[in-house]
Amino acid sequence: MIEVRRLVKTFGLKPVLRGVDFDVEPGEFVALLGPNGAGKTTFLRILASLSRPTLGDVRLAGFRLPGQAASVRRVLGVVSHQPLLYGDLTGEENLRFYGRLYDVPQLEARVAQVLEMVGLAARRRDLVHQYSRGMQQRLAIGRAVLHDPEIMLFDEPHTGLDQEASLMLDGVLRQVAARGRTVVMTSHDLLRSAELATRVDILSRGVIAASYPRASLEPASLPSLYREAIRG
């Protein structure tokens, strides 16, 4: 579903990604861990077609980036640590707006369905700037799944959420994974990642330094494996 070969990204003379190879099978949930500055967000932005690779081959659902970016975007849902929502529009209006951009058929019914799914049907007519951070993140997930994408990218989705909102988000992530969607999530939370994902990859110094399938991973051992991987 996702195939990345020898991906290099530089900003000016500074290399951020130095030859990343990365494969994700359909239905897999990959947690991408790594220290600050490892290039996790840059990597996800390239997968999301928001940033051009300097070198290398990137394909999602068979579509090549950046040449077939519009087709990639059609099968992609992205949740960032910023909600990507308009504070001066209501929750319903935000979804309706994005639904029009994605040309979602039977939009009104789909918006109502998604609002119900993320538990915001009762607050659908409230302006988004009146929502709590947790509610905004729930609506952001609603925005990302509105067009029923095959691949979901989550960039540190738990950032700024309290315990209750984080648990709620975990539930939504499990729902997304249970529906057979392919998920890539960046995070700093090792234990949460080990619980949610089917595979944990560690990005360090611009390459995938280690990769652990969930089946062979003891969550308690992850912190030491992580330290070992980032030390190189």
Binding site: L50, Y86, F97
Partner: protein, 235 residues
């Protein structure tokens, strides 16, 4: 790796629907907050007032400086609006939300242009009568109003493109006017000359070259923006 997959089919009219969606979103958000229009309008009226006090004008001089004062006011207020329009998208991360949509990115550009143009025309519709009252200069000249619309299209067209570039920089507030004013200079010059021609009642043959320049400028820059917007907004 396998060959490239076939492109996902897009329903007819998707481009127009995406443009309309961006316009609707900008107008609806502005209708609620009135942040952008309020700032542009107050700024434009202040500029007109300052000129009124700063320039001790007799009747004859007034008719020669009116076009210049008007276009300086529109240009300053327009820059303020363009900065805020794109800045709001960037600050809330919504620019990424727009860029993630599976539409030709020029649809986003044209949506922003139409919305920004609407804001600019609203400001101009208020500033022109106020100016007319303060300076006692009759401005309800159909030709002049046409020039204002043409000039605004070009200004907003170039401005939206450059604001999309400048918004990526930390110094965007300073950067936009530095990028915009040199590029938009021929447009402003043509707009001032054509406006002046209509206000002074010059012959059509004297005004037409400036109007033509405005038209060409509008078409050229809208086409250029349509071609390069995808590259401008991508990292």
């Amino acid at each position: 790796m396998a060959d490239q997959a076939a492109v996902v089919p897009v329903r007819r009219g998707a481009f127009g629907r995406a443009v309309a969606a961006v316009v609707w979103k900008d107008l609806a958000a502005e209708f609620r907050s009135r942040e952008l229009l309020g700032a542009m309008l107050v700024f434009a009226l202040l500029v007109v007032l300052i000129f009124n006090f700063a320039l001790e004008l007799d009747v004859r001089t007034r008719s020669t400086v009116t076009a210049g004062v008007l276009w300086v006011t529109f240009a300053f207020a327009g820059t303020l609006g363009l900065n805020r329009s794109m800045g709001a998208e960037k600050d809330r991360g919504c620019l990424d939300g727009l860029l993630l949509a599976p539409v030709d990115r020029s649809a986003i550009y044209f949506g922003k242009v139409v919305a920004n143009l609407a804001f600019m025309l609203v400001v101009e519709a208020i500033v022109v009568p106020v100016y007319s009252l303060l300076y006692n200069v009759p401005l309800l000249v159909p030709g002049l109003l046409g020039v204002i619309v043409l000039g605004s299209i070009g200004y907003v067209g170039v401005g939206t493109l450059l604001a999309s570039m400048a918004v990526q920089a930390r110094t965007r507030d300073v950067l936009l006017p530095i990028l915009l004013f040199p590029v938009v200079l021929p447009e402003l010059l043509a707009a001032v000359k054509a406006s002046e021609g209509f206000l002074q009642g010059l012959a059509a043959a004297d005004i037409l070259p400036w109007v033509n320049l405005l038209l060409v400028y509008d078409v050229v820059f809208l086409v250029v923006a349509w071609m390069v917007y995808d590259y401008v907004v991508e990292e």
